[in-house]
Symmetry: none
Subunit: 415 residues, 2 copies
């Protein structure tokens, strides 16, 4: 199967957004062993879209469209494909119901143009949109399979994963299995990780090993092919074992794991609760934890102590400590962790104080960070970090460090 | 001039990176008033690249290539264009010198294939690469202008700005100015906004009006052309005026403004401070405000009151209120806002309580949200919302609503 991905949307041609949909779908199709030979971007214009489809029909037998399924006159992907394939557009009742329900629920008035979103190509397999209104669809006409997906990544990605990918796998009816697994690391740089497993990367053929760095983390994607799923997984297991023998201390999870998800998960398993005192992170640590459904079982809450007054009044850090050691100090971090644990009645109290930048603070340079961790049965520990990068990166990495500290404490069963 | 941007590189088709080069160039060309009608991505394969160029020649008179100018056998953009245009590739002496100098400077051995990088199309205008080795180039053959730029954004962007853009401006010989302006709206859906200004959109020609929705916001990009910059701006002003007469109550800013940036900015201007009690948002509101440098002047801090115990113990919501009205209630929101303002010593106290989902809470459905706002001189107000969407969207929109409420209060000068 040779694929072309056509993104429809003038905002892409104006440079307002990058075509991250093509990136996502390309990575997904690569995993399925489908060759992607072309990406095309075209604006909200019926003639030019028609031209682009005709070109794609000469060079691909799978054409995936993103965008142009919305309610406005500008949205014309379905209409153009229907005309080219000489198919009718028909109302999908389930989609219409869910659009009407959406408007009823939000108390907003449903304008007539919203009904257009429920139109689908007659005879197509309809993909429900669980994160928006416009459904997706797929159908094979002659030798070519057409798949239409919505433009917003938040709608497109889950729809493709849940409906588009299984549709293609059935279509492929493949006997060779492709198994892949992502190993996630924190606290080690990409070049150091690569150096430590250089010989493994050089010997790689099956599985292949592909490193990728981003957001202070490094991942390794292992991909194995075998006609037996069990054998493919065995190949992955062996390579994973060889890698973790070298760099296992930086490893924290697989695939879609995140430090935040794993922290919530392990807290639940160990039946422990957490509270946080956040200065430089401004609430980021708790925001990330509470973004995970079910976090309420383990997150008690916390204090965003952005000013010294709040550190003193709400978290009882003595004015003398703030005056002598300063807010960015080991002593302050220790007290914040201990006191937020007591205040919120949690098993674990964690604190973040430091300099996110752009300017130094209290004579301490940007990237100076203290993380305090206080547990019911142990002494409080303080970790001092010297981070670099812009404000956002420092804040994010600090919050992630907090998770890695909690994960290590919980795993070591010292709680 | 109608442009097509062709990115060459298999890493794009494997989904390893997004085509940010096309985004950058599209925004640049839009500023110059050059229409971009298509983007194409093709791999490091001579046959498919040739096909892509032949398609582009039928629909564009400016074709900009990014990537494929490096030293390896995979890099074949120049070679393919030379063959198609029947031009020779010749060594550019200045480029060769600078490549040799680079290797001498770094003490590395220059392999033979690096010389390939100094080859350029005979008769082309050569663009020096001040951030890498491979030069860029441009030439017009018949009615079509070809421009070749390197793939790494760090090399491509400065090269385009310094050499590519002036080359095009001279080519255009344009006296016409292009001015554009983005208007940002919150609290109104895309289809409702379009319905309210439908006639303006339909009449559009100069300026053009392009709507875009995302993250609970809608933007309108106005673009005007005129030989006088002042007149172009006047055209924008008139259209802006006509739009704001209709939907001004949802308007909050221009261009790169965000609700969070504008909230910090207006708080600074009015010399007011804010504190927040965050239940369903889990710290998101304060995280977003403190992401902005200088937020420490206006953000006092706050409490993430994720559990009823923290609401009761830290923010003094009486157990009776939590038992009768519940945590997700107008009364609770009111008390949280008042008490967090007092606790943190801020001018404005804001509170967020509600159901982010995925499950209902206290018999209240997902998306039920109360935002309390307490100011020094006024009664406390509570806004009740019924939002929809996934957990993340509800949290984000709730935090943004908080900003819009604060912005309105500050603008109304009732503080």
């Amino acid at each position: 199967m040779n694929a072309e991905i056509i993104a429809v949307g003038s905002e892409l041609l104006l440079g307002q957004i990058a075509n991250t949909n093509a990136q996502f779908l390309s990575a997904q199709l690569a995993e399925l062993g489908i060759n992607v030979y072309f990406h095309t971007v075209v604006g909200d214009n019926a003639d030019r879209l028609e031209k682009a489809v005709k070109v794609a029909q000469t060079r691909a037998n799978l054409i995936i469209f993103t965008g142009g399924l919305g309610p406005t006159k500008d949205d014309l992907t379905k209409e153009t494909i229907a005309r080219l394939l000489q198919r009718e557009l028909v109302i999908d009742k389930e989609a219409l119901h869910s659009i009407e329900a959406y408007f009823a629920r939000t108390g907003r008035t449903m304008t007539e143009n919203n009904k257009k979103q429920a139109l689908v190509l007659q005879g197509s397999t309809v993909f429900r949109n669980e994160h928006g209104m416009a459904p997706g669809m797929a159908m094979t006409v002659g030798a070519i399979t057409y798949m239409l997906l919505p433009g917003p990544p938040k709608e497109m990605q889950p729809m493709f994963s849940k409906y588009g990918r299984p549709f293609l796998m059935e279509k492929l009816d493949r006997h060779e299995r492709i198994e892949s697994r992502v190993l996630r690391f924190f606290g080690i740089g990409e070049s150091q990780l690569e150096t430590e497993i250089e010989d493994l990367i050089e010997q790689q053929s099956n599985p292949t090993i592909a490193p990728l760095a981003g957001d202070g983390e490094v991942t390794l994607r292992l991909t194995a092919k075998h006609h037996s799923e069990i054998e493919a997984k065995k190949l992955l297991d062996q390579t994973e074992q060889a890698i973790l023998t070298r760099v296992g201390r930086y490893f924290y999870g697989y695939n879609d794991d995140t430090l935040f998800k794993n922290t919530v998960k392990l807290l639940k398993e160990k039946k422990k609760t957490v509270a946080a005192a956040e200065s430089l992170t401004g609430g980021l640590f708790l925001t990330e934890l509470t973004a995970i459904p079910g976090a309420s079982q383990v997150v008690r809450g916390g204090v965003v102590c952005y000013t010294n007054e709040v550190k003193e009044k709400v978290l009882h850090v003595p004015a003398s400590v703030l005056a002598t050691d300063g807010a960015v100090s080991e002593r302050c971090a220790k007290l914040l962790a201990e006191n937020v644990r007591a205040l919120c009645g949690a098993d674990i109290g964690i604190s973040f104080t430091g300099v996110a930048g752009p300017d130094p603070l209290e004579g301490k340079s940007v990237g100076t960070v203290y993380i305090g961790i206080s547990t019911s049965e142990n002494e409080t520990a303080v970790h001092a970090l010297a981070l670099s990068g812009p404000r956002d990166a420092i804040r994010t990495r600090t919050a992630k460090y907090g998770c890695s500290i909690i994960l290590k404490k919980l795993a070591a069963a010292c709680l």
